[in-house]
Symmetry: D2
Subunit: 213 residues, 4 copies
Amino acid sequence: MKVLITGFDPFGNEHINPSYQAVQLLELEKKEIELVKKELPTVFARSIKVLDRTIKEVKPDIVIATGQAGGRYDISVERVAINLIDAGIPDNDGDQPLDEKIFKDGENAYFSSLPIKAIVKKLREKKIPASVSNSAGTYVCNNLFYAMLYLIDRKYPDIKGGFVHVPYLPEQVLTKRNTPCMSLNDIVTALQIIVATACTTKKDILLIDGKIC
Amino acid sequence: MKVLITGFDPFGNEHINPSYQAVQLLELEKKEIELVKKELPTVFARSIKVLDRTIKEVKPDIVIATGQAGGRYDISVERVAINLIDAGIPDNDGDQPLDEKIFKDGENAYFSSLPIKAIVKKLREKKIPASVSNSAGTYVCNNLFYAMLYLIDRKYPDIKGGFVHVPYLPEQVLTKRNTPCMSLNDIVTALQIIVATACTTKKDILLIDGKIC
Amino acid sequence: MKVLITGFDPFGNEHINPSYQAVQLLELEKKEIELVKKELPTVFARSIKVLDRTIKEVKPDIVIATGQAGGRYDISVERVAINLIDAGIPDNDGDQPLDEKIFKDGENAYFSSLPIKAIVKKLREKKIPASVSNSAGTYVCNNLFYAMLYLIDRKYPDIKGGFVHVPYLPEQVLTKRNTPCMSLNDIVTALQIIVATACTTKKDILLIDGKIC
Amino acid sequence: MKVLITGFDPFGNEHINPSYQAVQLLELEKKEIELVKKELPTVFARSIKVLDRTIKEVKPDIVIATGQAGGRYDISVERVAINLIDAGIPDNDGDQPLDEKIFKDGENAYFSSLPIKAIVKKLREKKIPASVSNSAGTYVCNNLFYAMLYLIDRKYPDIKGGFVHVPYLPEQVLTKRNTPCMSLNDIVTALQIIVATACTTKKDILLIDGKIC
């Protein structure tokens, strides 16, 4: 089984991006899973092109994209990507689209095809805070997540795909007051669990999360 | 112009629901807008039936549904409803569907047809904290919001519709530590502004919000 | 009975200060309480001088000082003032003392002589979020609170005194994400309750607050 | 140089206490520092007795007490202990004193004699979120911190002492929504830095913290 896992480069005022930092350090115990890592630019248009090209080359069974969600408390396993770009800040190429569709002919939204609740359950069993998230935002992360599921829908029907947001690292919050973070070590462990669970779970479980909105 | 505005009854551990409390107190200055108010039960199936029946009877030009979003800091003008029920707690009839579609033949998501950014801008001009929200959750609020847009799509193509989440009232957070709230007076004023802006805005504006995720 | 109530002028990046705004609007129902209002400068040295002079002139029975605590969720009835200035930002005269004592011959700390728990209980009964706070910070608010209790200890033994922090107003958080606020109306009502409770409570009550730290 | 470092046992609804867990794992690189570890009961009266007896036996140069501060985001180096017990929940012996003095003949407050700002600076240099805290609460942590400084003042004038609060561990927040935590590894590293900095710093530095209250 082959897994493509991606992370982003730093954006905004940050000098690091925990998503690709963790991907870089990721090593799997199970040798039957082949892992391909790719850093994506935090750029609306180019990140999609690089993803599409990489999927074509790598031919993965599963694609897991990861990104930084500054201000979140836990590993956020994203449930749904929406057909919308609404950039609060410019991307790394200086583009800042407002209220635009990602693909004009795409669905309004696509749902992750990863076993998101099985992943959350397994992460918590391993003592890593995690939850299902119902919004990947409207910036480059949602853009890439949506494009992945659109491409899967159109061109790669046998691939499973999803997106995971990770919190800031401790070093990113030193001068930000009351901002949560997660250690790099825990994020790397989380990615190991996510990859393993995605590869071995046939059918997602029902897990009551307690969130209302 | 006729506006149907709804709120929900109390649910969970709460004895009040600020959404219908505010709707009840709502009065408009502009006499050319006819306002119809309706309290909906916090029940997945019944709230949709009551909404559909009320739309049929009232024949509004605009439908604005409101609900309580405990823990949020501001008036959240919802952007998108997703085709999913995932109930963290039972509804007021004791039903707790997990990972179910709302309408099997519906789109994955529908976008609000209210001028959401013009509304946010106007609220802020009137000194009321507000923002666009990209998730109405997966409980009865999203369920009703999705059903409204599904019904509009299928049966009432000339109606505009959307959803607004309001914070807890001060009296609801007295024993909850560090939980934000908004005064009933400000919520009522917000609803006045929302109705007026929805009725008078032809085309939504572009507003940079600064949120990433 | 005569009550001196003070608020501060705006400081930092704020254009308003809810503390004196609320004091200005404060009116009492009980006509047997004489209320004297005073705006203090957000300046370490001068605020103390103005307070001392005003106490001498007014000869109040009770002094209640109020200040803005941006980021707090509720009315914070302060319990203790410490003999320390440690200014995170300059005061309105440009002074920024670091790790200095307020009065070299003062106690390490003084406790409020207001009935702080009776006040919190009464505020909650009137549906206003409130709690006892164990730190007034190390900026101008704590400086004034400490000086008030020092002056009472040395010069005005018959006066009761205390300090109350109030949250931001809604208009102050429009562009601050996820920051709590309280309506001016609720803050004014809170001050009415605080003054009345301070004047009528002979002995403070025991109230379990549930906070650990 | 000899350092006594303490942590508490679990209390409230928690099954673990990160403070003594971290103390247990603590090892120092510098062999010239002799480290003595002690677990204290989360009990108002007994924790003081155990501390006093242990100081008498161990004869440390420095005492560093640590405790859990659930809900805090970073390593909180406490500045001041106040002469007050006000227990939001019972201690582990079932005692819940309200508004009582710790020592009737003690000062209103004592200040830490550790180099608290040098410690915060060093922690941040090592990428561990940290700040000076102006309140250790009114529960067993403040009680022990106050008693330590009282005992030093009365009986052990040559000892330096202070208190450090640590956040929840990740495993403690799995079912608490939006609650910050810190990895055990980072807490252990923080304690190493704190002990080393306490032993080597002659005079505390001036560090602007940016906090107002």
